[in-house]
């Protein structure tokens, strides 16, 4: 029997343990703050160590210097005891390799995305899409190994046979392989973007007697451009931050060149070189790695924020 005959009912006191629930909420909030703490930690530690670096090496020398040779001095009184820390060759090297990668990945990724979203049957799409995504799941150390021990020697031999001198640590080898790695990034994001273009727009064009490919080129792609641009920016950010491929295949020669057949080095490869092995933590050499890390972090962050903004704007347009 329900106690409907009681005069009043208690609406104030429940059985739940409020203290415990407050504690749970506290823990939940704390956990979601971990992500913020990580970001703050990254920014603080990079800024702090980079600041110590810039106390020794002027910021302008770092940003505009064209000479990179971070030797540690053998004797304190040695001339140029701290070495040269001009980051320009590293930045150009990074850009060169990323550019080659984008040259490979953009056409392959975009054409794959177009084919998958516009032409492929549902069945082959369900098969091909995950297959392409395997490319993104393979550890980068595997790409690095393949680039250094298979692709680079092949390019060298191929260059020799046509009389070209290809460095065994050429930017081309690293860039090519890196390009393959970021294909799925471009293809799956662009695929989503292309699918979001309303069918009505296609119907309008097809109804006027345009062929399917004309519709894609003249109607679908132009309206998907912002989203595609976003996906390309994300891919570029990924290429710039990629480490293992360049560590293994690009080497450490800080050449200021635009020739893809020569060896160049990148920001990430230098960070690894500077920080592995024995190190004294206070030298300009090790601290310079954090200055490079700061450059890398800021660059990729800006690219991401811009890319995510573009993609979001684009999605809202069709919501």
């Amino acid at each position: 029997m329900a106690n409907s005959d009681s005069a009043t009912i208690d609406l104030v006191h429940s059985q739940r343990k409020k203290g415990f629930e407050l504690f749970v909420m506290g823990v939940l909030i704390l956990c979601s703050l971990v992500a913020v703490a990580v970001t703050v930690g990254i920014v603080l530690s990079l800024l702090f160590e980079a600041f110590r670096f810039f106390e020794r090496i002027p910021l302008t020398d770092f940003l505009f210097g064209t000479q990179w040779s971070p030797q540690t001095a053998l004797r304190a009184d040695q001339v140029a005891a701290e070495g040269a820390f001009g980051a320009v060759p590293l930045i150009t090297g990074t850009l060169l390799i990323s550019f080659i990668a984008m040259c490979v990945a953009t056409p392959l990724g975009l054409l794959s995305a177009i084919y998958l979203s516009e032409y492929a049957s549902k069945r082959s799409r369900n098969l091909i899409k995950p297959a392409l995504e395997i490319l993104a799941g393979i550890p980068t150390v595997v790409y690095g190994f393949f680039a250094a021990l298979t692709v680079a020697p092949l390019l060298r031999a191929g260059g020799e046979s046509v009389g070209l001198n290809v460095s065994s640590e050429s930017a081309l080898a690293a860039g090519l392989v890196m390009g393959i790695m970021i294909i799925p990034l471009i293809s799956s994001l662009s695929d989503d973007v292309i699918n979001a273009v309303p069918q009505a727009m296609r119907d309008a064009s097809l109804g006027m007697g345009a062929t399917h490919s004309e519709t894609i080129r003249k109607v679908v792609l132009p309206s998907a451009i912002p989203g595609i641009a976003g996906s390309l920016l994300l891919a570029a950010s990924r290429a710039i931050g990629e480490t293992m491929i360049v560590v293994m295949a690009a080497g450490l020669a800080a050449n200021l060149t635009a020739n893809p057949l020569e060896a160049v080095t990148t920001i990430t490869a230098q960070i690894v070189a500077l920080l592995t092995g024995d190190q004294e933590f206070d030298s300009a050499k090790t601290l310079s790695a954090f200055a490079l890390g700061l450059v890398l972090f800021v660059t990729t962050l800006v690219l991401n924020v811009v890319a995510l903004r573009i993609v979001r704007k684009y999605q809202e347009q069709y919501d």
């Binding site: 429940s14 629930e21 749970v24 909420m25 823990v27 939940l28 956990c31 979601s32 971990v34 992500a35 990580v38 970001t39 930690g41 990254i42 530690s45 990079l46 702090f48 160590e49 392959l108 054409l111 794959s112 177009i114 084919y115 032409y119 297959a131 392409l132 799941g137 393979i138 550890p139 980068t140 150390v141 595997v142 690095g144 190994f145 393949f146 021990l149 393959i180 294909i183 293809s187 062929t211 490919s213 004309e214 894609i216 950010s237 990924r238 931050g241 480490t243 293992m244 293994m248 990430t268 960070i271 690894v272 920080l275 592995t276 790695a289 890390g293 972090f297 990729t300 991401n304 995510l308």
Partner: protein
């Protein structure tokens, strides 16, 4: 009058443009997948050899003069092996020839004999036929990757060495078998003895730390953001933060680990503890994003049902919503762990690149991880390490495939719950 049936020449060219366009798409997909197949195929091809190994039988003298039965551990085992080799091929008299002769077996043959003697004290007292691991060059010759016809000066093995090997083969003193030691040994400077056990254990410990941190924190953060967070600036900041964190280059997390965990907090360098923590910070966004998606997929009627009968929001979430989202969360977590397993760069930053022979016993000891082992071996000059590197990659890929299959099965299994 217009003819609808016979295509005009202009239409024909438009039609062929259409065909061409489709072929570009097919070509792009084919090129991407072909690269994948070539890369994995070449690694499989190169690595398959590492799973077999070569042993040589040599008759060694374990008489009382060579090994004192009272103190067998004091014997000069390396010398015993060398003497046995000299006895087998007395024609090697010059020092250079002798060195080649000793090079037929692994550099560690002395230790192998010592282990054999200590394990079989009953065999002491006379001549005994003992199996030794063959050297890497010997092994490679048998695997057929060395071309015997090229000029002697361009080969690692001279005609004389090949002659010895052929003699051993003819006498039945060579055997091939599955390379168990690849899975039971730690790293070694000698490719024929190098194994991945210490790296595997290092990876396992690192992943364990990573899981223990990122799984609970990831789920709880996702629950807060999805079920409780008020819609305000503060929540927006956290959300944007997580999305951006997901795209920070992995090496930056390594820098964070180096500067914060190692230098500021003084945690042990090269340890799975630090490695796991760094990787968990990296996988956290993946887990949070996946967990939020599967929490969102739980129908609101479940929440209403629980709240409607007087469950508190915390009870409704932990009793009903979270258990239903768990399969999805697990899937996301496995994918995140697979990412962490393949990650190399941040581990280099915190010093997990050491040469580790012994299996790490705790998360505080220096250790390395499988992908780092691959990186180290890829750099080694010996040819036989090429094979080992590929084999280690195969093992790594097998683990990744298993994890991803598990994730797919989980997803399939629980997908149509609602």
């Amino acid at each position: 009058m217009t003819d609808f049936i016979t295509p005009s020449s202009q239409l024909k060219s438009r039609k062929s443009a259409e065909k061409r366009f489709q072929w570009y798409g097919r070509g792009a997909i084919f090129a991407s997948l072909a690269f994948l197949v070539v890369m994995v195929g070449s690694i499989l091809y190169k690595g398959s050899g590492a799973f077999t190994t070569t042993d040589v039988a040599i008759v060694v003298d374990l008489g009382p003069e060579a090994v004192d039965p009272a103190n067998p551990q004091d014997a000069r085992f390396e010398k015993i092996v060398k003497d046995a080799l000299k006895a087998r091929f007395p024609e090697a008299t010059k020092r250079a020839d002798r060195r080649k002769l000793y090079g037929l077996v692994s550099n560690d043959a002395g230790f192998e004999l010592e282990r054999f003697v200590l394990a079989n004290p009953d065999k002491l007292g006379g001549e005994v036929r003992v199996w030794f691991r063959a050297s890497d060059d010997f092994d490679i010759l048998l695997k057929g990757t060395v071309d015997r016809t090229v000029d002697e000066s361009e080969r690692r093995l001279s005609d004389q060495e090949i002659g010895w090997i052929d003699t051993l083969l003819a006498d039945g003193d060579v055997k091939r078998g599955f390379n168990w030691s690849f899975f039971t040994n730690g790293d070694s400077r000698e490719p024929e003895l190098a194994g991945i056990l210490s790296a595997l254990v290092g990876s396992a410990l690192t992943l364990l730390v990573c899981f223990c941190f990122s799984f609970p924190v990831g789920i709880l953060a996702a629950i807060y953001l999805e079920e409780f967070a008020p819609k305000n600036r503060f929540s927006d900041i956290i959300e944007v933060n997580i999305n951006n964190l997901a795209a920070v280059p992995s090496i930056v997390f390594g820098l964070l680990g180096l500067s914060m965990l190692l230098n500021t907090f003084g945690m042990p360098r090269s340890s799975p503890l630090v490695g796991g923590l760094v990787l968990s910070l990296m996988t956290l966004p993946t887990i949070i994003i996946a967990a939020r998606a599967s929490l969102r997929a739980v129908p609101p009627s479940i929440r209403e049902a629980a709240l409607g009968m007087g469950a508190s929001p915390v009870q409704a979430t932990f009793h009903h919503v979270a258990p239903l989202a768990l399969p999805g969360i697990m899937t996301g977590t496995i994918v995140g762990m697979a990412q962490a397993l393949g990650e190399t760069a941040p581990l280099l930053m915190i010093g997990m690149v050491a040469f580790i022979v012994d299996v790490p016993q705790s998360i505080l000891e220096p250790a390395t991880a499988l992908p780092v082992q691959i990186f180290l071996w890829a750099d080694a000059p010996e040819r036989a390490f090429l094979e080992k590197t590929s084999a280690a990659i195969i093992v790594l890929l097998l683990f990744l495939i298993t994890m991803n299959l598990l994730a797919i099965v989980l997803r399939r299994r629980f997908e149509k719950r609602f």
